[in-house]
Amino acid sequence: MGQAAHGTSYINSEKGLMSWLTSLDHKRIGILYFVTVLFFFLVGGIAALLLRAELFAANVTAEGVATAGQIFKNGDTYNQALTYHGAIMVFMVIVPGIPSIFGNFFLPLQIGAKDVAFPKLNLASWYLFMIGAAMAVATLFMSRLDTGWTFYTPYSIRTGAAVSLMVGAVFIMGMASVLTGLNFIVTIHKLRAPGMTFHRMPLFTWAIYSTSIIQVLATPVLAITLMLLIAERAFGVGIFDPKLGGDPVLFQHFFWFYSHPAVYIMILPAMGIISELLTTFSKKTIFGYTAIAYSSLGIAAVSFFVWGHHLYVSGQSELAGVIFSFLTMLVGVPTAIKMFNWLATLYKGSIEFRSPMLYALGFLFLFVIGGVTGIMLAVLPIDVHFHDTYFVVAHFHYVMVGGTLMALMGGIYYWFPKMFGKMYSESLARWSWIFIFVGFNVTFFPQFILGAMGMPRRYFDYLPAYENLNRISTVGSWMITVGFVIALVSIIKALKSGEKAPANPWGSKTLEWMTESPPITHNFSHEPVVTEGPYEYK
């Protein structure tokens, strides 16, 4: 295994499916994750389309009484679709997405390493992830999983048997992400090329570093919580179940102690990609390298102390609410710093509107809106009104889809030539951006207004007053779909008949562009020696 001669690309070094499934090459493992995440994105996306189709029209009378649905027979099936959409998109797409695809593929390349520190562990992580994913898929054949992705007790203790298996699946996928995170941390500390000091690392690597720290520290808490939930369901231990003297709100505290930092697991790698895209396509050094690098770490640190802002109306004390609101405001500062630094990077640059850059600019646009609405939600009395309404739904889609997914798409187009050695059609890629960007705003902006009007989330049905905006939102979801179909076509077309990509098509300065496209199995024919920072466009 891995005995390819110098000069053979990692794709051609060995042939056959088994060579991929047993590969220890971080690049091949990155591709395995790419295919896996893409598949689950498709499944989660179909669930989302069904939800939006159901919400196309109100089935409720003015008296507030529900009748039969548009496409789902009743609330039960809708609630299951909602749960699969949330759980798949969070645990199988957004959380693992950027770190496991691009982190695996590009982290070693960016620091001039041959591979990650523990290649076998890396492959084991993917298999763990697949076991978790298979368990998650198996729940489809069991009695209903309808808790929402948050698994709140005591509902999750009482509903269908599928909950235990799904929770077990998330536990195992969490384990996979801890191992990956550990692998990355050790790789960054131990395998940097000569001259690659911490302050010469590309910002994407910095972002993956911060993310990995959160993954390693926070995921075990989720794991414990999920184990307790399984124990509660299987043995009735009575930690969360009020009927047995437990406290159901305790689950929420445990859950968000992981899941709030997890929000930063989702967004930090995206921010890393954006830094790479903006410098490359402005042909200009990043503004405030140190500030961006350390604000990632700052966000990582503070993110552990803000979980209570999910619990303002759960009955926690006024003092707790005030403290969490204050700390949440503090997370806003490093985020604002990054925004301004990116803006300043554009200043006096030479901006080229390639599709990765369009996705990066789209990210900035959407993330600003996601950010300011996040501040609104951090303000105590405002959140009391908006909590669990469509305002929250709109906010976190602006952050996670407008943020992470836009960055993921930008990353795919940016690194595609490197990963596959082929160029894609620029015009198809731009069309995909237009549909996704416009469709996204059409889908989610009306949801801010719906939330302000008081429409609760996770509703199978709603009052007629909310119908017009819901209709617009559903039409938007179709536009996004068109965008993703175009993107898929552009990728398939490029794989089949794309022109051969040069080593560095964009004129980037980071190390991954200094080797061939696609890279050889050992990444570099000679170990690179680093003599300057990552963005020296002089």
Partner: protein, 322 residues
Amino acid sequence: MWFLALIRQANAETFMPTQATEIATSIDNLYGFLVAASFISCAILIGGMVYFAIKYKRQSANDKTAYITHDTRLEILWSVVPLIIFLVVFAWGWVIYHDMRQMPKNALEIHVTGKQWAWMVEYKNGVKSPIIVVPVNRDVKIILTADDVIHSLYIPSFRVKQDAIPGTYTALWFNSKKLGEFHVFCTEFCGTQHSGMMTKLRVVTQEEFDKWLVEESEVSLLPMAQRGAKIFQTRACASCHNVNNDVVKVGPSLYKAFGQASHELDSGEVVQFDENYLRESILNSNAKLAKGFGPRSAMPAFQGQLSETELTALIEYIKSLK
């Protein structure tokens, strides 16, 4: 002055529900400020981005760019200014939140229990109601709990929300300045009929409230069929179903309907018009449609809407239509 006008302007355009309490007004003012501040931030960041993108568009592959690594003064500026704004809105929010969490003394206390999938409202004199009725201009404290899973009581027009948690009590308060009916939602996911778990909050004058309390306390003493007749009116059954003769309004007439041995259905099937048929049709009107009323019923499903005693009383009333 212009600033207050700006806030008021912002308020008018934020699509918030009716402001029925003073708290709602102060929350909307803060929200108006946040919306204005957000628009300004977006204008700076997005506007700046678009401006730079156009101004510094690549002219040729050999463009020279400025080499600017950082600027300490600017970086301090854009760290400190957002921090100050964040702290201002935090403190402003705290002041309002403090008012919301201080339960007023001498408030009218009402117990509300969430249950899959309805709210049970109970007054101190023992009246139980599916809707919340309160007097205008009076401090009202709602003491919440839940029977089964977590629910959350949300009254958009009052800008209040509080989780109802089994095994513990939580509370919220309001003082409505407006008469009328307001929506009440459940906002914590609670299963199949979560979205159907809504009710009304009716704000009436003190006199009407006192009268309503007395009347309601007498209802439970009425014979079953008479209680059913009241439900038939309050649930607006009478607007579609005739009870005095055979004339069809919107739905089938219920006059002398009960007891038919061969009641014809739209599907051609023939069933008996008995208690169980009535029960099924009230809870899920599409289950068995009467002949000529297919293929879909216009009648809402009352599954989860009526208590067992209400349902029985309603059936007894329909039985009495002879």
